[in-house]
């Protein structure tokens, strides 16, 4: 019995979350057994054999002219058809914007239990147990799956893609599925507000976030310059988003985005419990704040107490000198 992995694409390119899910599927296959099968939804099946290098043994390709863009009902019909074809014991998706919308639809079709935004999967005890953050990471729950298939979406940037198997070609098959595109459906007509090529906060490796210590929106240029030097994405605390200095999409925290970068630099952020909840799974946290008692220093790995208007430019310069 397979492990089935949903392969997300954008503009025909396979996204990193899909490779991360394939990597985890491959690792689990060594305990759970079974081939790793991928199910892909897109406009064309070109180039999919190369998913073999990322860990897929077989690829079921669901192609449809409307699938260039995400269609929840259509993709769900395709994935359900793949499940019927291979009867997997486990079905994985990345917990991306598409994955978080698609996986529940598939779970409802299958009558299966879905663990969302998991940070680890463990098959060692004989049964599969998923671990996932709840309450914005202030707690974790571990869940088991009484029904088959077990379904999970995996938090981006937590799981590693499989070490590439150069030259391995996956066996690609067309997948027939039952879906009526003429029925009333939500149609994506375009995109807007493009953030210009930088990765989304939820998928960023390095993040520099600014808070009220910056005193005004114009001072965010300090954060942006540090972010540029580090190749980082810019985030924000709720206080500065509510004040209108930064858009809501930049907010890190319980009612913003939950992030898991390898480096999180908090500039002028005091560290309210809701902010910490959004970034506490960062691998390394650096805090810069003039208040030595700021709660952020309790979670930071490294702290600098000082005036951010002096410290941040100095850090930016030092980073630039490294390159």
């Amino acid at each position: 019995m397979s492990i089935l992995v949903f392969i997300e694409q954008r503009d025909g390119k396979v996204r990193s979350v899909a490779r991360e899910a394939l990597g985890e599927a491959k690792r689990l296959a060594s305990t759970l057994g079974g081939p790793v099968t991928a199910v892909y939804c897109g406009a064309s099946a070109d180039g999919l054999a190369s998913l073999g290098e990322a860990g897929a043994d077989k690829v079921l390709a669901a192609t449809h002219e409307t699938f260039a863009r995400y269609d929840g009902a259509g993709y769900a019909a395709a994935v359900a058809a793949a499940v019927k074809a291979v009867s997997p014991k486990l079905l994985l998706f990345g917990a991306s914007s598409i994955g978080k919308d698609l996986a529940p639809r598939v779970a409802a079709k299958l009558g299966a239990g879905l663990a969302a935004d998991c940070t680890s999967l463990d098959a060692s005890g004989g049964k599969l147990v998923a671990r996932r953050p709840v309450m914005a990471g202030k707690a974790f729950e571990r869940v088991a799956f009484p029904m088959a298939p077990a379904m999970a979406t995996l938090r981006p940037k937590v799981f590693a893609p499989a070490p590439p198997e150069a030259g391995k070609a996956a066996n690609v098959e067309a997948l027939a599925f039952d879906w009526d595109a003429t029925k009333p459906r939500a149609v994506v007509t375009g995109t807007t507000g493009a953030t210009g090529g930088k990765p989304d906060l939820t998928e960023s490796e390095i993040i520099v976030s600014g808070g009220r210590g910056l005193k005004g929106p114009e001072n965010f240029s300090l954060v942006e310059q540090l972010a540029d030097a580090l190749g980082a994405t810019v985030g924000a605390s709720r206080a500065v988003v509510d004040a209108g200095w930064r858009p809501h999409g930049d907010q890190v925290g319980q009612t913003g985005k939950t992030v898991s970068p390898k480096l999180y630099v908090a500039v002028g952020i005091s560290g309210a419990i809701q902010h910490l909840a959004g970034m506490s799974s960062s691998r390394c946290i650096v805090a810069i704040n003039k208040d030595p008692d700021a709660p952020i220093f309790k979670v930071a790995d490294y702290g600098v107490v000082g005036d951010l208007f002096e410290v941040v430019p100095a850090l930016t310069e030092a980073i630039k000198k490294l390159h």
Binding site: P133, M135, V304, L315
Partner: protein, 250 residues
């Protein structure tokens, strides 16, 4: 048009987490329960659509124990017309069980729009909305950041990585709401008084077999203690050094 808003009562985001004695749940002692913050945007948008259309009904529905009636009354006080309490004492029911119970309750109402907050801040699952839409066989758009209704077509924007998608959706449909979609109104004193007289119907539900089994509820692993590396700009050389040599990040 009849609109349904699905709401959930959750622990306040200020809650400091303590694990209950059973090791599988949050210790409820001292926890304040509130309307899920994302659901406020759902209630508000339903009210705005009702105002735009000049007619129609907004029905609030929530699944949970007796205590959720407080949250349903909040929705009524803000402007919902009536409420349905699906009474279940199951602790942390799985999303599919919840979606099935709600689908069965609201299907006969034939809602033009079903609203939910994008996720509950206790479970962070973001599952019930798309599940409900699938069970009702309706189009669904999740994480809606902008909403306009023209006739029977909604034009919405949904947050995705790196921007937003613009989506056109024929009604009837299901939407889950993101923060920033609108500015939720507060209940007026008049609204609070009126809420006491609005219909709140209680129905016992049997959730059936669980689709997920929670085996543990635990605190996050403790982070290794950090340290202050220095003060002011003078600390920068040491900070860079530790990031390179200890954390091996730069």
């Amino acid at each position: 048009m009849l609109q349904v808003v699905c709401i959930k009562q959750v622990p306040d985001t200020e809650t400091r987490v303590k694990v209950a004695a059973d090791g599988r749940s949050l210790d409820p002692a001292g926890v304040t329960l509130i309307l899920n913050p994302y659901d406020e945007f759902a209630v508000e948008q339903a009210l705005r659509v009702k105002e735009q259309l000049g007619a129609g009904e907004v029905v609030a529905i929530s699944l949970g124990g007796a205590g959720v009636q407080t949250t349903l009354r909040t929705a009524l006080a803000t402007g919902a017309d009536r409420a349905i309490h699906l009474k279940s004492d199951v602790s942390s029911p799985d999303a599919l069980a919840v979606a099935k119970a709600i689908a069965d309750a609201i299907r006969p109402l034939e809602p033009g729009i079903v609203w939910l907050g994008k996720q509950a801040v206790d479970d962070d699952g973001a599952q019930v909305g798309p599940m409900l839409a699938t069970l009702l066989d309706r189009p669904c758009v999740s994480v809606v950041a902008k909403f306009e209704l023209a006739g029977q077509t909604a034009k919405v924007e949904r947050e995705i990585e790196g921007g937003r998608e613009v989506v056109e959706v024929p009604l009837p449909a299901v939407f889950t709401t993101d923060k920033g979609l609108n500015e939720p109104r507060y209940a007026s004193l008049k609204g609070i008084m009126a809420a006491k007289k609005k219909p709140l119907e209680e129905r016992a539900v049997d959730l059936g077999p669980a689709h997920l089994e929670r085996v543990a509820f635990e605190l996050p692993p403790a982070r290794k203690a950090g340290r202050i590396v220095g003060e002011g700009a003078a600390a920068i050389p040491e900070l860079v050094r530790v990031l390179r040599e200890e954390a091996k990040i730069l």
